[in-house]
């Protein structure tokens, strides 16, 4: 039996480097109820993972000649694809570069923090991939990072979801207008946001034209235009190379963005939060837009007052690809339960409900060929539950990424931090308020900070 556990990974942490391969494992799970998502639910079924990939799903699978890391008897248990959180802010050292209304050039991949113990807690909730998003302080925020929760490494590169498409955060509504209002600049209205988006794209088109001309001019004696990473990124959006994930709440602003994107020929949008998406479900379906929503959050601010917990169900029934996300270091620990709420609120069936946290978010991140369902050839990112994952009584038992076990409920020692500050207090007790874990506007509020400093003197 090959053995590779987290402690070992920690011990050989030095061996991780940008060029090194991340670890993969071999696992044989026997006699489980396998919820494949894309191919029904299979009773008494085995799943074989080799070299981090699902190689067989069937009955009475033979253990490969070379052996596996572990054979797991999962009789009476449920196996489902690892949960994917399409909106997360854990494992990031910074969230908002909110100092300008357009910061398309910045990227969350630069601020990944692999040392965050929240990663382990997410694994304990069956999550295997997250979309680490820029905050919502500005209209065009930064690029996001799609990650696999390979906890135990100090190297941020090891968490990269290699090959995942680039994505970027946009934000509409109260958050960007609030910041602008405090500063006395545009946009302070939803009109202003639209204008700003159109201006940004037009600037990008002009930028592209300049460079196109430069690139097509013959000869060596030519001078390059100014390079602008901000514009480069916007051009990539216009050319469909970057998926836009847009923080939005109200139906009107959702509709507006589809309009703007239609005009600029951008074909894909994922609306994040989208509490009022249900109001324009037919239009979203027509556009082919996706939505990634909360299960039941509402009323914490004006633009989410006319929300309904039936949002996910209405969108699903109207044919809109929808996921349920956390946006929170707390909710991410029980997304399976958040998905189950779509059964209470709108009666989605088991497969529809579980799709909200597996294949649908995978599609929204462009990684559905790798994860989001249990299929031969896909990555060995799976979670084993003791009960049906939509039951409130279900507890994740084991979580695997690339066939490597990163969480085991029955072998879960205290203190899973991988980094300890020698100057930290032993008894560091922190109390959280209800929305502390809602990090979208984290670091964004300059005005609030200025007040804090004034309070100093």
């Amino acid at each position: 039996m090959k053995k590779l556990n987290i402690t070992l990974l920690l011990a050989i942490g030095v061996a991780f480097s940008a060029s090194a391969q991340t670890p993969v494992g071999d696992i044989l799970i026997r006699n489980a109820t396998v919820i494949t998502i894309t191919n029904g639910t299979l009773e008494n079924t085995d799943v074989l993972i080799e070299n981090g990939k699902i190689t067989r799903v069937g009955t009475d699978l033979r253990e490969p000649r070379g052996g596996v890391d572990e054979v797991i008897d999962a009789s009476g248990m449920y196996v489902m694809p690892g949960i994917i959180d399409a909106h997360s802010h854990i494992a990031g050292s910074s969230i908002n570069e909110g100092t300008s209304q357009v910061t398309s050039e910045v990227s969350m991949e630069d601020v990944v923090n692999p040392l965050d113990v929240s990663i382990y807690r997410a694994l304990a909730g069956g999550v295997t991939s997250i979309h680490l998003m820029h905050g919502s302080a500005n209209v065009i925020g930064g690029q996001n990072e799609t990650m696999k929760l390979r906890y135990g490494t100090t190297n941020p590169d090891d968490l990269r979801f290699e090959g995942a498409p680039r994505t970027i955060k946009f934000a509409l509504g109260e958050n960007p207008t609030r910041g602008a209002r405090a500063r006395g600049i545009q946009p302070q209205t939803r009109m202003g946001i639209e204008a700003m988006l159109r201006n940004a794209f037009n600037d990008a088109l002009n930028y592209k034209a300049e460079w196109d001309e430069y690139n097509t001019t013959r000869g060596n004696r030519k001078v390059a235009p100014e390079y602008d990473l901000r514009m480069e990124t916007l051009v990539d959006i216009l050319e469909g190379e970057i998926l836009v994930h847009c923080h939005s709440y109200r139906a009107d602003e959702i509709y507006m963005l589809m309009d703007v994107f239609s005009d600029f020929g951008i074909e894909k949008i994922i609306f994040q939060h989208a509490n009022e998406a249900y109001k324009v479900a037919p239009e979203l379906a027509e556009f082919g837009a996706y939505t990634s929503v909360f299960s039941d959050w509402w009323a914490y601010k004006l633009e989410v007052y006319y929300s309904t917990a039936y949002n996910a169900a209405i969108l699903t029934q109207n044919g809109v690809n929808t996921s349920i996300n956390s946006d929170s270091g707390e909710l991410i620990r029980h997304l399976f339960h958040e998905a189950a709420k779509s059964q209470k609120y709108g009666g989605l069936n088991d497969n529809e409900a579980l799709s909200l946290i597996t294949i649908n978010p995978a599609m929204q991140l462009g990684i559905e060929d790798r994860v989001g369902s249990i299929e031969e050839g896909k990555d060995g990112d799976i979670v084993i539950f003791d009960k049906h994952p939509l039951s409130v009584y279900a507890i994740p038992q084991m979580t695997f990424v690339d066939g490597v076990k990163y969480f085991d409920y029955n072998n879960d020692p205290d203190d899973q931090r991988i980094w300890v500050d020698p100057t930290s207090a032993i008894q560091d007790v922190v109390l959280y308020d209800a929305h502390d874990m809602h990090l979208c506007m984290h670091e964004a509020d300059f005005v609030e900070m200025y007040e804090l400093i004034n309070g100093e003197w």
């Binding site: 942490g13 910061t103 050039e105 910045v106 004696r221 032993i426 400093i453 309070g455 003197w457």
Partner: protein
């Protein structure tokens, strides 16, 4: 990395010229500060000529700024001041890989009207790579003496600022009449750090990483344009002048290294990420958390200066009643401390040549930190190398310093015992041939005499006129083990603030303190004059470019 090899010969010529003219201007010296001679002979000492190369009962001659002889059986020049080095150790002068030593913090700048643009003014954004630290150098900075009395003779000093404060220079930690007297070589590095401009772009690491890439790539393009134009301007638009991009040219052509103040593992990895994308020469100037990066650094070509800012050894309580949980947590904390302390020997074992940097370290703790590093496994020969010849090589100045070889700059440290022994003290430091003598204190490392401190020790009631209105409170200064400590208590109910970098010299009091706001560290600097029981000064928060007056009155003790 050999930074300065090419300039060595020019430099030594300059130095000798300076020596010859030393007394030419000195008409008279009513202060009595001038030395009687510029030639010194330290005799009968244990001379560590270079790490691992020890001469017992040796003699070192320093004359007119240079080491002129070293060894046994040395003729002592007739004009030499002879220092009996019996029981003393003589080392090459130490070299600080990166610090702000000698650089004065610039005044807070005017807050720009139009802060919230995608491109705020470069000075506010902290993007001033064209700036040289020489414009911040201040011969009155007491950091110069503070570091010198630890044995440091040369510092790679970088400017205060934000993202790209300017270029660093090598300075000699000596007393000069003008800042230029201290400069050994200017513009040896481009200094950069993950320090955003609060409220303006780039505000944090996200913006800084992107801005770095953008500046570098445009500098590359602008440089190509400039070179093309220089070789043949016909038909080409004239290159525009951009001092920021121009400052990048030597970085782009790799004649100037980038010194990154990246002390945590995550920051260091981010700096290396930029380096691997853009290809410049990188030095991690102040690495604190490097133990997991030994493999990555090995063979990477990245220059490393390890920070001498080291945490206190965490407490493991001798308490039989403590729970298993507490015991385990204490042990883990200690484990991480030990990892940090053993990174020095780990790097050495991996063959990574490194120096030390003192940025962020408390001067009075540096000696004991070095002793502790050796106790945690770094060979003392290697520790000395990191302070001397290895640092010199990494900075490209090993031809002129780093060992006590004849012909090198007269930089030396004379101690009362082996340096890496906790009871030894620094008795003399020679910088550029000048002698500095120190009192050996039991406690070691003190910086303010009781007499000096008397003017400040006590309780001060302050009033400051902040934009928010009048604020009041008290500041209490005490002198402990020769050092000033202070605490500020605001009447507004804010937590007490421990005051750092307290300096009181010729009636000028400065100190600073920091706190967290909105997830960001903010530093407040107070500076002003004390006249009897009255203090009048200014409080500045450079992060916000605001400053406002503060006055304080010393409380007269009740009888």
């Amino acid at each position: 990395m050999k930074l300065l090899r090419k300039s060595f010969f020019r430099l030594s010529l300059l130095l000798s010229f300076a020596s010859f003219t030393y007394n030419a201007h000195a008409q008279s010296d009513p202060t009595g500060n001038s030395p009687a001679t510029n030639t010194y002979a330290i005799t009968n000492a244990t001379i560590v000529q270079a790490p691992g190369k020890q001469i017992e009962g040796g003699t070192l001659i320093i004359s007119n700024g240079l080491i002129t002889a070293v060894g046994t059986n040395i003729n002592i020049p007739a004009n030499a001041e002879v220092i009996d080095g019996t029981d003393m150790y003589v080392y090459p002068g130490f070299i600080d890989g990166m610090s702000n030593t000698g650089a004065a913090r610039p005044d807070a700048m005017e807050r720009p009207e139009d802060l919230f643009t995608p491109d705020p003014p470069n000075d506010y954004a902290g993007i001033t790579p064209e700036m040289s630290v020489k414009f911040q150098l201040d011969i009155e900075e007491n950091s110069i003496n503070n570091m010198r009395k630890l044995g440091f003779t040369i510092s790679h000093t970088v400017p205060h600022g934000r993202m790209l404060p300017g270029s660093g220079s090598l300075i000699l930690l000596k007393d000069g009449e003008h800042a230029d007297d201290l400069i050994m070589e200017e513009n040896v590095s481009m200094y950069t750090q993950f320090q955003g401009a609060p409220g303006a772009y780039p505000g944090n690491t996200l913006g800084i990483m992107a801005k770095w890439r953008n500046l570098y790539r445009n500098a590359d393009l602008a440089k190509q344009h400039t070179e093309m134009y220089a070789s043949n301007p016909a038909g080409l638009p004239r290159p525009t002048q951009d001092r920021v991009l121009q400052a990048f040219y030597p970085v782009v052509d790799r004649s100037q290294p980038v010194f990154y103040n990246a002390n945590s593992i995550l920051e260091a990895q981010r700096a290396m990420r930029l380096q691997s994308e853009l290809g410049f020469n990188l030095a991690l100037g102040n690495l604190e958390e490097g133990w997991e990066m030994v493999g990555d650094l090995s063979g990477s070509g990245v220059t490393v200066f390890l920070s001498l800012n080291i945490p206190e050894e965490p407490e493991v309580k001798e308490d039989g009643d403590k729970t298993e949980e507490v015991a385990a947590l204490e042990q883990r904390r200690l484990d991480f401390y030990n990892k940090q302390m053993s990174q020095f020997s780990a790097m050495d074992a991996e063959g990574i040549k490194f120096g030390f940097s003192t940025m962020g370290a408390t001067a009075s703790k540096i000696k004991s930190n070095l002793v502790s590093i050796v106790e945690h496994g770094l060979d003392s020969v290697q520790a000395l190398a990191a302070l001397t010849i290895d640092a010199a090589e990494l900075l490209g100045i090993d031809a002129v310093t780093g060992t006590l070889d004849e012909g090198k700059i007269g930089n030396a440290v004379v101690t009362t015992g082996p340096y890496f022994h906790k009871d030894s003290g620094v008795k003399y430091v020679f910088v550029d041939g000048d002698k500095y003598e120190y009192e050996i204190r039991e406690s070691g490392g003190g910086e303010v005499s009781e007499e000096e401190a008397a003017g400040i020790v006590g309780t001060w009631v302050y009033t400051s006129s902040s934009p928010r209105g009048e604020q009041t409170g008290t500041m209490v200064f005490t002198r402990q083990a020769g050092e000033l400590t202070g605490i500020l208590t605001s009447d507004s109910g804010q937590p007490d603030r421990i005051l750092n970098n307290i300096s009181f010299r010729d009636g000028t009091l400065t100190f600073d303190y920091a706190f967290e706001a909105g997830g960001q560290g903010v530093e407040i600097v107070v500076t002003g004059e004390i006249d009897g029981d009255e203090f009048e000064g200014e409080t500045s928060i450079s992060a916000f470019n605001i400053s406002f007056p503060i006055v304080a009155t010393k409380e007269v003790p009740q009888q």
